[in-house]
């Protein structure tokens, strides 16, 4: 098979591929303006023409790309003002980059030279599919954020917002969250319940994981299955069961009841992460510690605990998020005095549709991102440590 040399492409090829991308983006613009097929057609024709023309002028790439971006901005501004100009920057930059990327065969430059055209196509198709899935997953979360700055009491992108008019934006929903007694009570309830539940989950989960990792414990698999079950059984079933059980023993509607229910939900996460960390734990270390006169408790806190700490902490973070995000169980086990943030959001969504929910959601997403970033850093540290440990 002949190697494919990296050389400039023919205008026809560039025009065809560029037309494809133009049709793709044209579909969205066209749909938002009322006619999807029309947008596809315009996008495809426009990109094909640009692709065809620019393939001849690859020596003036920089000037053309700047000119193209500027032209898109002006065209966007002329048709629909500032928001369209911002979109124009993006599309102008993309069109210029994409056409020259194709025309000068840069897309092949870092790929193995023996790949066939079909393999190259699949290489990029795969990446486009991944990108589309990513966009599909993340868009609902991103849409919430600008809406939370809405100056109206509805979940609507108002014309003022789309024009970037400052009057269309406000912090009043954030203000409502921080000044409204209901929301503040809910926040404090969450802040009181989640750490306590996490503490219980981490304590019991870690102990269980260590016990279950001892080879001499009987029925290990069965016990493990029971402890993990709150994660597998539908939440509503656990919740209904807990409701009747807790009612009978007087825990329903109490702070401790909610804490315990959330601890039960958090324990599986701790067990799983700690068990995973224990796989890499070298047991001869505990024997060595015992050999030097350390009792089991000293061994645990001075030798074992520091090494499995990343697993414990990441399990704890999962337990914390579980409790902080949980709404089904608390609706059953709690009473109005233990109204947590998700509960307050749930009733706010059903009865009122107030954008305060969006402000809270934005804050919670921020907290979750912080927690997950911490988790990732810990995981890396754990990997590094494990790489260093013998065995």
């Amino acid at each position: 098979m002949a190697l494919t040399p990296v050389e400039n492409q023919t205008p026809g090829f560039v025009a065809a591929v560029a037309a494809g991308s133009g049709a793709f983006f044209g579909l969205f613009i066209g749909t938002s303006q009322g006619s999807g097929p029309m947008g596809m057609l315009i996008g495809a024709v426009l990109m094909a023409l640009l692709g065809f023309a620019f393939t001849m002028m690859t020596n003036k790439e920089n000037q053309i790309r700047w000119a193209l971006a500027a032209a898109f901005v002006v065209a966007g501004f002329a048709t629909a003002g500032l928001p369209a100009a911002v979109l124009g920057v993006f599309f102008g930059w993309f069109a210029g980059w994409f056409i020259f990327w194709l025309a000068t065969s840069r897309y092949r430059a870092h790929l193995a030279p023996y790949l066939t055209a079909g393999q190259v196509l699949w290489y990029y198709t795969f990446r486009v599919i991944c990108g589309v899935i990513f966009v599909f997953l993340i868009t609902p979360i991103l849409v919430v954020m600008p809406l939370s700055f809405n100056s109206q009491d509805f979940f609507t992108f108002t014309p003022e917002m789309l024009r970037f008019d400052p009057a269309g934006f406000s912090l009043k929903h954030y203000q409502d969250f921080f000044s409204n007694q209901d929301w503040q009570n809910a926040l404090w309830n969450s802040v009181k319940i989640a750490p306590m539940a996490t503490l219980l989950s981490v304590t019991f989960g870690t102990l269980a994981a260590i016990g279950l990792s001892q080879p001499h414990v009987p029925f290990r698999r069965a016990i493990m299955a029971v402890l993990i079950s709150p994660m597998i059984v539908p939440l509503i079933i656990s919740a209904a069961g807990m409701y009747f059980f807790y009612s009978r023993i007087g825990l329903q509607g109490t702070y401790m009841g909610v804490v315990m229910a959330h601890a039960v939900l958090g324990i599986p996460f701790v067990i799983i992460t700690v068990t995973a960390t224990l796989v890499g734990f070298d047991r001869s270390l505990t024997r060595a510690a015992a050999n030097m006169g350390a009792g089991p408790v000293t061994t645990f806190f001075r030798v074992q605990m520091p090494l499995i700490l990343p697993g414990v902490i990441s399990g704890g973070l999962f337990a914390f998020i579980t409790s902080f995000d949980e709404v089904v169980v608390v609706l059953f086990v709690g009473s109005a005095g233990q109204k947590t943030l998700p509960w307050q959001m749930f009733i706010g969504l059903r009865e009122q549709i107030s954008p305060t929910i969006l402000a809270v959601a934005t804050i919670l997403v921020g907290i979750s991102v912080l927690l997950l970033a911490t988790l990732e850093l810990l995981r890396r540290r754990s990997e590094r440590l494990r790489g260093m440990s013998p065995g």
């Binding site: 009978r248 509607g253 109005a336 059903r350």
Partner: protein, 367 residues
């Protein structure tokens, strides 16, 4: 030491003697309601003044939407955590029939009107159940986008079935109640014959056939907040919801929405006390009910939301909106100008036929 304690006790007892009742009442109340601006109006008109006067802590639970199911579960678990529950009249009737709500002697528990009319007469025929203390009269009615209906704003409820004059989506509540009556009314059935026709198999088919003509243009809602949101988005041209929701979208949030009062469907909302409370808690709940449903308080609630007070004696006291300062009376569903053509919802008919019609309606929806 003992002596001082004793004398302190005597002193405090003496001090409390005028309110001896308070001694054997719980000092915390869990009140269940619907949330949103409705709960806010109750907080302003009833809860806050009551707490200020008695020092009782009031906890708000916004669970009225699932009140019947939850009270059943609480009763089964022997653990009733609610003291006073705000429910619609039909739910109150169900709870009362099942023995899940306590019967209330209206004249003994509730305050008389300022002119001495006993409570049972003041509330009149709004006391639809022995367990039910009426609070407000609300209506399910239509709002429309003033900028999307063209030059002729709709004046008749039949505009929802008129796709030629008012093209676009409309939102309706996902249940047969009201929708079936409106459909038959717009299919030419006289108002007084609605329930007779609906009692026959052909009548039900006729109503569903009428709804069928707009089925693909209907957005079905389950929570009262959905229609105002859809109207604000311009997703629907018109839609049904509770009149207070439309009022707050129009008057408080300046949305381009108009009211269509024609064939509005009146309904009642009020309090019940769940069965199985301890004597102290029940005494406190009754004390609260007496306070919250007197003539002045009921009129006060109308300062915050456009629902009509259930007492006849409260109507003349309805004033202006607490923040906007507009007259509230013209926004009440009971206002004569709004109530020219009212659909009176038949509780008994629906109590008997609801399960059957729900099933048929759901089957029709799924088709």
């Amino acid at each position: 030491m003992k002596l001082t304690k004793l004398s302190a006790l005597v002193a405090s007892t003496a001090l409390c003697a005028p309110m001896a009742m308070a001694e054997d009442m719980a000092n915390e109340l869990t009140i269940v309601s619907w949330g949103g601006s409705y709960s806010a109006s109750q907080k302003n008109a009833y809860h806050d003044p009551y707490t200020a006067e008695t020092g009782v802590k009031i906890i708000n639970d916004e669970s009225s939407a699932e009140a019947v199911a939850k009270i059943r579960a609480m009763n089964e678990a022997g653990n009733v955590t609610w003291d006073v529950v705000d429910v619609v009249a039909s739910d109150a009737m169900r709870l009362c029939d099942e023995g899940l709500a306590d019967e209330i002697d209206h004249d003994e528990v509730l305050a008389a009107a300022p002119d001495g009319t006993p409570a049972s007469e003041d509330f009149g025929n709004l006391i639809v159940s022995e367990c039910f203390v009426p609070q407000i009269v609300y209506s399910t009615t239509f709002g429309y986008r003033t900028d999307l209906v063209g030059d002729t704003a709709p004046t008749s409820v039949c505009a929802i079935f008129d796709l030629d004059a008012y093209p676009g989506k409309r939102s309706l509540q996902k249940r047969p109640i009201d929708n079936m009556e409106w459909a038959l009314y717009c299919d030419g059935v006289a108002k007084e014959d609605l329930y007779d026709v609906l009692s026959t198999k052909e009548g039900v088919a006729r109503g569903l056939a009428k709804l069928d003509t707009i089925k693909d243009q209907v957005v079905w809602w389950t929570a009262g907040a959905e229609t105002p949101q859809l109207l604000a988005d311009g997703e629907v041209v018109m839609g049904s919801t509770f009149n207070g929701r439309l009022f707050s979208a129009i008057a408080e949030q300046d949305q381009p929405i108009g009211m269509l009062w024609d064939m509005q469907s009146f309904d009642l909302d009020g309090w019940i006390i769940p069965a199985g409370l301890s004597p102290e808690r029940k005494a406190r709940a009754l004390h609260y009910l007496n306070y919250a449903t007197d003539t002045q308080r009921l009129a006060d609630q109308a300062k915050y939301i456009s629902y009509g007070p259930a007492r006849a004696s409260s109507a003349p006291l309805v004033g202006k909106h607490a923040e906007l300062g507009i007259d509230m009376a013209p926004h009440m569903p009971t206002d004569p100008a709004n109530a020219t053509n009212v659909h009176t919802y038949d509780y008994e008919w629906w109590a008997d036929n609801r399960d059957d019609l729900d099933a048929k309606f759901q089957a029709w929806l799924a088709k």
